[in-house]
Symmetry: C2
């Protein structure tokens, strides 16, 4: 898919201000860095990957990002001067105005790292920095499952529950760069303890971590499940893949817990729609990728039942994310196209 564009691009003059402008999107994760050169249509013309190694410190991580970016540009058969803008999605609180990562626990606790300015200096290209889940939602809303919709809520249940809100085509950053933390919206006052220390957040009810807690609790209470044979009793972590295996075997305990989580997500989704009334909702994340066939029908049925003003499903679809592991880099690149480039 990207091959033809790659050849075309090499024959073009620089700087490229036409239809085939290229941006670089980077997904900075706690374990790996993904970079991709992305065209206007969201096609990936070249890419590269490297481990993050956050334990080696900020300078090393930034050097690794720079190398990965350069590798992706080479893979696309381009020169960095052909890149109009760079977008980077990072796992933490990002100030998109200054490019500073205010706090990133998953990067060995970065505090106030001027990621954007440092990458601009190293690469000579305008850089925009964004929270990774916001970037992923933006990717799905521009070149993914929700392409063509202008108001989109993204919900990504995995280890936690991330999300993003796009209204009238614009990512909602909030007045203090704190919008879109939908995993910590409360759906069960005084409910189960959340990883954040509070109680009853949707993340404490329907993330993979919450599901793991509920299944292990039932096992300790004596309930039988084939999941006992699938996990290491000394380190009883339950991956999304393990959940999918148990679902495929119709294990009653896992099915019960997953169905309840999906019900909670459905009530939450209906509730969010009552407040925000988006054009569509996109569900993605590790838990949905693994267990979507069981969870999504329950999420959908419950959501529409919880709407205070009935809206037909086809007028407010609940879509499954389409970009997989490329969502963050694609969204970061698309965001850079509208926000990092001089008009």
């Amino acid at each position: 898919m990207g091959k033809k564009s790659k050849k075309n691009r090499q024959n073009q003059n620089k700087p490229d201000l036409g239809l085939h402008a290229s941006r670089l999107g980077i997904d900075l994760g706690g374990t790996k860095i993904l970079a991709g050169v992305v065209d206007d249509q969201g096609r990936i013309l070249g890419s590269a990957k490297r481990k993050t190694r956050p334990e080696r410190g900020v300078d090393e991580v930034i050097a690794r990002i720079v190398k990965t970016a350069q590798d992706a540009v080479v893979d696309a058969g381009l020169d960095m001067s052909a890149i109009k803008a760079i977008g980077i999605g990072a796992p933490g609180v990002a100030d998109y105005r200054t490019g500073v990562i205010e706090f990133a626990p998953n990067l060995n606790n970065w505090v106030n790292v001027a990621l954007g300015p440092r990458l601009e200096q190293a690469l000579g290209v305008p850089v925009i920095v964004e929270n990774d889940v916001n970037a992923g939602t933006y990717g799905e809303a521009t070149v993914g499952a929700a392409a063509g919709y202008r108001s989109v809520v993204g919900i990504f249940p995995g280890t936690g529950i991330g999300g993003g809100i796009i209204l009238d085509g614009r990512l909602l950053r909030g007045a203090h760069n704190a919008a879109g933390e939908i995993g910590h919206m409360v759906v069960l006052i005084d409910g189960p303890r959340c990883g954040c220390g509070r109680r009853g957040c949707i993340e404490a009810l329907a993330s993979r971590t919450a599901i793991e807690r509920d299944i292990l609790g039932e096992l300790r209470g004596g309930r039988k499940s084939l999941i006992s044979e699938l996990i290491d009793p000394d380190n009883p972590q339950i991956t999304s893949g393990t959940l999918a295996t148990a679902l495929a075997e119709r294990d009653p305990l896992v099915t019960d817990v997953i169905e309840r989580a999906a019900y909670h997500l459905g009530v939450f989704t209906g509730s969010l729609i009552n407040g925000l009334d988006p054009e569509c909702v996109v569900y993605g994340g590790g838990l949905i990728e693994a267990c979507g066939p069981v969870m999504l029908p329950i999420i959908r049925e419950t959501t529409y039942r919880y709407l205070i003003r009935p809206i037909e499903p086809d007028r407010l679809p609940i879509l499954e994310a389409a970009l997989g592991d490329n969502a963050v880099l694609l969204g970061a690149a698309m965001l850079a196209a509208v926000e990092a480039e001089p008009a």
Copy 2:
């Protein structure tokens, strides 16, 4: 306050496109119609009031709105030709693009009434139609407690719980005219039954109706309270004023129930901020007007405790509404100024 402006206006040429432009704001309620002529600064230059009489049918209500509008203009010492635009807040689902009230249970079940076009025809002035709570929030955000803030969430607990969301200076209508129904966001999955038929909506936990239900339940269970002496046993309704009286007497039952409702509102407010991150929150409505001194400190303390990303209270204040009964007409007039007038 409005007197001086009134005299000034009579000496001006028409049409008035200058600083002292006037709009008409109308608050169409289930029991009364309020109309006011409003200047650019949100001052009321003249006003009028009339009963709604929804039981007499749509035509009669519209005729009464027209008369009330005309009376307000006369009260301001003006002619209708001096009015640049009219905004009307109505208790129901309003399509602001067409001016149609899609559904209004409190107006004797209006369905698809072309209120905007009919008023435009009768009065010869552009009309914008909006949901009343949205209009009230817009009033507080432009000329009320939150004037100067561009992203505002309004929460109005009374018989139900209404609300409105303003982001970047614009009222959030949603993709299906259904945004801002925050009273039906769920904070206690499978919790108490709500008037809407679902369970656990914040309205089912913290509206005056919910508080009344909880107090009457405790009385039936044998708990003593001076509220027994304040209500009619044959028709046991508990008004916000009665609640305030019982609070002033430090009645333990009423205090318990009100404090719990305030706690629920605080968790809900923190939760909403985690999603939307506005610049401020405005609390108004009958319950807050009557019981604010007890409820607001609890709401504030709980809200800030529930923020996933700590924000100092002075950077995200929780304000008390300032416009009282004029909020809807003022907001409708201010909205008409930006949306109903040709640019």
